[in-house]
Assembly symmetry: C2
Homo-oligomer: 492 residues x 2
Amino acid sequence: MSTENTNVKTSVTRTAISPTRAENFPEWYQEVVKAADMAENSPVRGCMVIKPYGYAVWENIQKALDAGIKNEDVQNAYFPLLIPLSFISREAEHVEGFAKECAVVTHHRLEKGPEGTLVPAKDAELDEPLIIRPTSETIIGDSMSKWVKSYRDLPLKLNQWCNVMRWEMRTRLFLRSAEFLWQEGHNAFENAEQADKDARRMLEVYNDLYANHMAIPGFMGEKTADERFPGADRSYTIELMMQDGKALQACTSHNLGQNFAHSCNIKFQGRDGVEHFCHTTSWGLSTRSIGGLIMTHADDDGLVMPPRLAPYQVVILPITKGEDTSAVMNFADKLAAQLKAIGVRVQIDRSDARAPDKMWAAIKRGVPIRVEIGDREVAEGKLTHTRRDLGRESKTTCSADEFIGTVQGILDAIHTTMYDRAYTKTRARIYNATTLDQLKSFFTEGDLGFVRAPVDLLDNADYQIFKKDNALSSRCLPFEDDGRMVLVGKSY
Amino acid sequence: MSTENTNVKTSVTRTAISPTRAENFPEWYQEVVKAADMAENSPVRGCMVIKPYGYAVWENIQKALDAGIKNEDVQNAYFPLLIPLSFISREAEHVEGFAKECAVVTHHRLEKGPEGTLVPAKDAELDEPLIIRPTSETIIGDSMSKWVKSYRDLPLKLNQWCNVMRWEMRTRLFLRSAEFLWQEGHNAFENAEQADKDARRMLEVYNDLYANHMAIPGFMGEKTADERFPGADRSYTIELMMQDGKALQACTSHNLGQNFAHSCNIKFQGRDGVEHFCHTTSWGLSTRSIGGLIMTHADDDGLVMPPRLAPYQVVILPITKGEDTSAVMNFADKLAAQLKAIGVRVQIDRSDARAPDKMWAAIKRGVPIRVEIGDREVAEGKLTHTRRDLGRESKTTCSADEFIGTVQGILDAIHTTMYDRAYTKTRARIYNATTLDQLKSFFTEGDLGFVRAPVDLLDNADYQIFKKDNALSSRCLPFEDDGRMVLVGKSY
């Protein structure tokens, strides 16, 4: 990957990212993604290329979440990419929700056309078109219908890590793209209670990922009827508030009741000897979570990586002058080896960039701790380290041994600081409204954030009109309010 | 997953799998896959469902290989599923090899048709059809052309774990399916020597996986010109011999020369200040490897899992009689916890199946070590363990502590035994031929295996005719013969 030698002129430009969050949040976001080398648009409309630094974050998310999923006795498996039209048509609401904007495979061969270019071969048209999975309830439901015979086969808990595709007109890196990566879990149970408990349980697993790995505080709650997954009885969600006050749906977990069991014919012989339909759930988390991570933590100098997911937790910046760099490089190599030995992910910037450029590259990528080593440090047996989350001036000088002894604690402190900061920022922008007028005046005054209002607001026709006119949505009924309140916000 | 209570009648049927390898190898293979619950055909033509037990093997392959890949300083990334027709058309040979039989996306929306069913929407036809990637040289090459500017950006080493699709008429689980999972690596270098060295190096990484994780001895070598990857200058391969004497291509690594660099415009400014085209490689290993694992190691009682990839290395079979099962279950739980603590993957069969059924389920799944615990074992503080690779009668009785102390050694011994057995079997079926007549008589006598013949055979027109008429192929020029010999066999 090319490391650009961007000279950040601190005298002219005060921040590494331009525009700043305050100036233009959407453009700031694109610039942060670019400056951190996370992803870029591809030549295929609506599809993105996830670059190595961005993909490394996804791998760390996968690792943490996969462990949490397996801890719930869910088994990973893999189901076909392509879904027959007849399958997707089975569940009426599901069709409305998903089957419309999707990639349709109609041919299985190409041939040379009249102008010498390749065209779909006429004699290779499929009898039944196939669609690229927008989600896999129907194709996994088909397998479940074969695998489940008796209550002894239940619960059946399956998950797959895969790509899905939903044709999108307006796309944004990570946040909304035609193709994205995700995991989708599909569980089947004997009764309604087990299914609802499971849908809520899987939301807890997601919340653990967000809170304890991504340092992101979210609002767990239930979706309102108009925001439910097509075909679900109940949808649970974690809603995040971004730094511009807008809402991002972080993941969802659905209690599908017996809807898909009916349409996919998932039946079992119960303990009573009688045949019953299963109660199923589905739950998913995608690469969109990386967009949430960026818009929660990044600042006007670029990304700020939560330490537990950071591809590199520590970057060592050798500051070499003159010809003989061996003393500094040896010091750096030794330190890196010692950090690796205690489980710290570390990188040495071996580029021949100038010292300030190395520093800015690390800042823009949001590496949690930067360690500078120059001739003076080597001579004194010391190093200087800087926390990304505390800004540019948070330098500490100590011995290498002292750093190695405290680095895990520093990483934990960064995690906690980042979580607490996001929590405080988010909570400060929750506005309690008891009337529709209060809600209206909040959103018409132009600030953004979430309004928390009594849940009977949902029955108010005026609210529904105001919501639509102002591109607002009911985000969720937060668990913390026991379903008595609704959070309203503007969404991504 | 339903655990079938198959009563294996040992008095009537001698083997758990019917037919046996000798009776009908292809059917035996399908039955082994089914009995071990590894995968099944899906309702989507040519696509398979990889069931949890099969997917767990793939996860273990991924884990081992991904570590090997990262150890070569390759970075994982993700590129679009869909490739524009114009991209795939860029490399002439590549088109011939891949672009013909593939899934073509022509529409991006469905609508209700005249008969009320869903049909591709006429007004949503794509200007340029897209194909589902059969391999990603062209789309990754496009990114490389943007990312590489200078020799400082090289080598650029990228890998992605993904699904690909090649429309196949005749499919077999794992061995040949329209959709399959794989990793594809794509590296770019300054010069020809580096690229060729890399293509060979990545083959070594694959060989480490096969030999040291899958217990499979393969023949590393170079493909003959007619078997090369479309668009490659040189293709390297590992060829395996299955128990029926047929050949399976285990993976490939290609030196693409400057062919794709030319067609994708991957250029860099060299150390000489002049612009040059890169030299690239690509290398891939797929879920087909699981087919190779099965056909190398399985026997007439089912799968035999190499211990280092086995989803469960030890299965504990509680043999309970009467009402009070707590003593046996406590013993099993304690043992499982102790095994987990030393890093052994262990499962307790908690089903209420009869003791022989539990045993046969474990045999058919090929679990390396079975541990039986009954009332007598608990009373004596002992257990009985059996190695899957040594057949049904290899029972050993010892204390739980002794087992825990020796289990890693037993697993290593199983690995070595399996590798050595496969090596001996394979090498016994290599027939040296110095003339075409010798080769002909070997294959017309009906036995299968590889013929090793002098490489000048390839220039013999009669060989080419005989090869075609008898569905044989030149498998590779093995490295061990320094390119002087060619291996000929019948392939999967």
